[in-house]
Every structure is written in C-alpha cells, then in structure tokens.
Symmetry: C2
Subunit: 351 residues, 2 copies
DNA sequence: TTGAAAGCGCTAACAT
DNA sequence: ATGTTAGCGCTTTCAA
C-alpha cells in the first residue's frame, strides 16, 4: 500500500479530511482565538499529523509581504559577517528572517537584489556599502525599501546607519600625530569608494592642521587586500627618508604593511608605527596586535535593521544615524623614533 | 500632477494600457516566440516604461518552483564562506540564486530552514554540516530536497559531497609520524560532531599503526575556537614530558596552540610541531605559516550545488562524492627534536 | 496570434 | 463559530 504522499499538505487537505472549510482551517492556524477550542484542536492535530507547513509563497502573495530582508554586501569578508550578525539580532526580535547575498563588487548586482524585492521575494534590502546610486535609482519605480549601512549612498536619500568616515580618518591621524610622528604615509582604499575617500580626507585634513604635508608620500590607493598593503609598504620603505608611521584604510592592508615591515627587519611600533581600520578579529589576533580604528560593526547591522523596520511601517525617511568610532591602541603604534633632526618648515638649520 | 506610482506594475497594468489580455502579456515575457513580433515589441516597450518586474512570488506559486537554494551553515566562519562561494558559481551557471543562512549551532534551526523549503520559499537546502539527522527527518513529509556538504548526515541517505574525515585525520598523523615524532597529542573538535570524531579516529588509528599510544596525552575536545586551542596547549605543555607535536582539528585551534607555544618561549617547528586542519586563509597568513590539512572548500560547494540540481531534476539519490584532502607542509612542522633517548617498548636500556 | 478562464495556497471581507 | 467568495499576480490549457 504505497501511500502517495509526495505533496506538501495544504489547508485544503486538512479541510477535506475534517469536513471543514479552508477558511476555518486558516483561522485555526493564524487566529486561533476565533475558533471553538475543540475545532481548533482537531485542526491542529490533523495539521500536525499531515506534516503541514504553511505555504509562505501563497501567504506572501496574499499579504503582500514576506517578512524577509536581504542583506547585501560587496564581498563576503569577515567584516560584513559581523554586520550581518547585528542585523540578525534585530530581525529575530521582530519576527523577520534575514538572508545574505553579495555582489562581488559588481555594481549592477546590487540592482538585481533590489529587483528581487520588487519581485516580491523580500520586503527590503539593507545595502552595506553601495557602489552606484545612479544606476540604483534609475529604472526602479517605485524604489523598494532600502537602508544604507556603513556609508551613505551618494545622491540617494534613504535611511542610513553609518560611521563618520571623515572623522574616523582624522582620529587615526591624531593618534599618530599625538605620538610625535611627522613622517606619516597613508594607504587608502579604492578610489571610487566614497567611504575610502572620506577616510582619506579626514586623515589629510588633520595632517594639514598639524602643519604636515599629506602628500609628502604618495597616497597609494589599494583594494583592501593584504597583498596590496604589503606591496605598498615596500614602496614606502624605499623612500628616503621612509615614513615612521603608516595609516592603512583597513585592517587587512595594515596586516600586509606589517608583513613588509617584518621582512625589512624593522621593529614594529618602534621603527615604524602602523594603524589600521575596522578592528576586525585579525587585528587583535595578529602578532603584534594591531592598533586600529574600532568600527561598531554589529551595532551598524542592528540599527540598520531597526531602520528597515521603521521604514516598512512608514515611519522613517532619509534619517541618518551616525555611530561613534574610536582608536583602539594596541601594539603596533608607539612614539616616533628619535632621529637626526629634520627641519620643520621655516626652521633654521643649526650652525 | 502627482502621479501615483506607489505600486509595482503588473502584467495587468500593461495589458490594460495596451488593450491586450494578461495572457498575451505573460507570453510576451516568457514565451516571446509565440507572439507577433510587433505585439511583442509593444508589450516590452510598455513593460520597460512602467519599470515592470515580474512577481516571482506569483510565478513561484504557479510554477511551484523558486529557483532559489538556501545554503545553511552552523556558523558564519570564513570557512563556510568559501564553501558558499563554490555553491554560487555552480548556481549562477544554471540560473539559480543562492542565499546563505546559519543556525548558530542550534540544531532545530536547521529544521526551520527545511520548513522554509516546505513553505515554498526555496527549492532546496544545502546543509553544510548537520547536527541532528533524527530531528531533521522526523515530522517532515515529504523531505525537502536536501544535500549534505562537508560531512554525511548520520542515518539519513541524501546526496552528499564530503571529504574523508577519517583519512584526513590519518594524513595528519602520518605527516607527524613521518617527521619522527612519537610524543604526539591531539586537540579534537566538538565531541558531538561526527566529522570531528572521524578525524580523531583516523588520527588515532594511524598512531596505533605506528606503535604509538593515542591516549598518552589526554584528547581534549574543543569548540574550534582559538581560545580553546590556546588553553588546551597550555595544559599539554604542563605534561612531563610534553608532546613534541600536536594535531589540532581545525586551523583556529591550531593558531591558539601556536600562541601558547610562543608564550612558552618554545620554538615552533623545532621544539614543537603543529598541524592544523582546513587550510583556511589564516593558515598561510599566520606567522609562522601553519602546516595544515587542505580541504577543497570551494569545490565542496560547487559539487554540492551540482548534486542539488540533479536532485531537483530527479536524477540523483543518496550518491556520495568524496573529495581529496592533502597535507600542506608549511612552517610549523619539522623533524622531531633530538632528545634524551626514550625507550621504545621492549627495547633494552643501554648498559 | 490572441483571449477567456482556471487555478497555484492562502487570507479576509462578508455572510450566516 | 463557521462557511462562501473573491482575489493576490502569474502561467497555461482550451477556444476562437
């Protein structure tokens, strides 16, 4: 007696089996208080026996909502994972599901995720760092619920949860300058990313304020990879005189810098100070432990989801939340080394 | 003239605008060859102008498929990310989408993802490491399309793409033994994870084969974290005599081991050899670079997705694909240190 | 080549 | 307290 049971049970199956209407079965599942307890029990029992699972597609079609949010990142680095975890916490609090997708730095794939929302697969997307606002907004009517995390999307006014990248860059500079460094180089992020530019600008602004020339060393623009950091540092080390301190726009590049410094047999934190950005796990894991600008990743995610929820309820528009950053001082930065005196501008050489 | 355009356009809107039936519009979009070219063009033009996006929910309801696959992992470690990337490659080749979710080691959350499939949100799930087969299979009728990646699911016969964890453990042991080590300790993975047990067993089997006692040192069962590895190693270092080589069941614990060795001011690769497992990025990044058992993560993902596709077409059942592993020798293992001679069993002491 | 109509599984008015 | 009915947006017979 091969019982054919290949199909998922539906409320119709349950209704038929009990001689009830589908409406009653639906109510038993979603608004049990409306039913006579006995009926409710009977329905639930059969539902359980049949292994019933509500068809969320059908429900979504009817309700016009999925209670699903997509988190879209550019890559799958551990950094974004931390943001995602924060999103999840908030999502779970409010009965939403979250799934993660990534674009591999292909700008148009951001749009594809938005289309998924337009297609009813999710209620909204949290975009952690966006590439191309113009392409995003164009040809998308209406614009699906969208919140920007980590950085604002240029030219697009959507709820945003970010950090002040400019100020964070300035913090890095102040740390180094406060330690007495004057020959300071920076390794920036990708030139097209506005958050990379902001960090860079904040950094340079602070250098100028301290009377230093931010272009004394070439500002190398990297791809956030360890390899790039290493190569860049080799270049910087070849300068005469070499810098005594380096700011790398993320921790991975900073690790590359450290590798190069080690290879050059210089002492980290003494001959050369290095500060990173993000405070990823590798920062405290690497040896020596990396001084870096802490970014509250999980909080970024958490508040992004909260904003999304508000947006979905029609409560919020274009609001910007800025989370604080701070330098975490560990082992890779120290006082500027004593040196044969280098003249500051306008200062006279001793006789 | 505030144009109200809050709703996504539907085929109905397009049909109305052109005085066509929804059927024709639908065909223009999905089976254009059936239409008079001119009509097709008109439909496409309006669709484009209205920013039309097909409602995948509705289509899914009708077609009973989503072309979406969930990849479910226990945690969001970089290791699983690599597997996910492999899945994506295969998915894209065949016009599927993939989204990633994780269970935070909560066994029942695996079931929730399966329920999502039963609920029509996705066509199947690729489970990268499963906790509880029994709970998984119970009360789920019919069983949604499922493939196991990385390890087989005990007691559940589903398509599987894995490595031979037992053999991989044996490879680690052979490497150490081949280097002349005889005082070898191991730090195993979580006791409930069968893949952890398998690695452990393979390792011990090989030790016995070489006449060594695998329980000479306590086998510590950890949670795959760096901290555990470090603590475990401190324990092992306190033994007299301490081991000259250690096998850690993943790279993170191995890194913890290395930290402890450094703190003890012993030389890695000379006083103590350490071998890890997985060959994650940190393995080649850490200093010194970690010798480890390479696991083909991306391939694991890629083939899992291929299996899923086959399963969805009704082509495959219970097939198991085993991918090869191999020791990658780097800097943390070396010849066993010369020592005051320790007698092998039955060997006479010199007079 | 196109249209009418049914139906995927569910929920919510609106009856009763 | 429960049933009837319409409809979410789409695809697909079946007819014309």
């Amino acid at each position: 007696m091969a019982v054919k049971q290949a199909r998922q049970a539906t409320i119709k199956d349950i209704a038929r089996e009990l001689g009830l209407s589908v409406a009653t079965v639906s109510r038993a599942l979603s608004r049990p208080e409306l039913l006579k307890p006995e009926t409710r029990e009977r329905v639930l029992a059969v539902a359980h026996r049949l292994g019933y699972q509500p068809n969320l597609i059908a429900r979504g079609l009817r309700m016009q909502e999925t209670r699903l949010i997509f988190v879209v990142t550019r890559s799958l680095s551990p950094f974004f994972l931390d943001v995602f975890r924060g999103v999840e916490v908030a999502a779970r609090e409010f009965g939403y599901d979250v799934l993660m997708g990534h674009t591999e730095y292909i700008a148009e794939r951001e749009g594809l995720f938005l289309d998924q929302v337009a297609s009813g697969r999710a209620d909204g997307v949290i975009l952690v760092t966006s590439a191309d606002a113009v392409a995003l907004a164009t040809r998308r009517r209406p614009m699906p619920p969208l919140v920007a995390a980590l950085e604002a999307i240029d030219g697009l006014s959507v709820p945003t949860v970010c950090i002040d990248h400019t100020e964070a860059g300035a913090q890095a500079a102040r740390h180094l300058i406060g330690l007495g460094h004057r020959r300071i180089a920076q390794i920036a992020g990708p030139g097209q990313m506005s958050m990379a530019k902001d960090r860079s600008e904040g950094f340079e602004r602070e250098m100028r304020r301290a009377g230093l020339d931010p272009s004394a060393y070439p500002v190398l623009s990297g791809d956030f990879s360890i390899d790039f950091g290493e190569a860049a540092m080799r270049t910087l080390l070849a300068a005469t005189p070499p810098p005594t301190a380096v700011f790398a726009a993320n921790d991975e590049m900073a690790v590359g810098v450290l590798q190069a410094v080690k290879q050059a047999r210089l002492e980290i934190g003494r001959d050369i100070s290095v500060i990173g950005f993000n405070d990823q796990r590798i920062a405290s894991l690497y040896e020596p432990q990396l001084t870096t600008v802490h970014v509250p990743t999980a909080e970024l995610g958490y508040h992004s989801m909260r904003q999304m929820l508000r947006l979905l309820r029609g409560e919020s528009t274009g609001e910007v939340i800025v989370l604080p950053t701070a330098v975490v001082e560990r082992q890779t930065t120290g006082p500027a080394p004593a040196e044969r005196p280098v003249r500051a501008r306008g200062e006279k050489a001793p006789v």
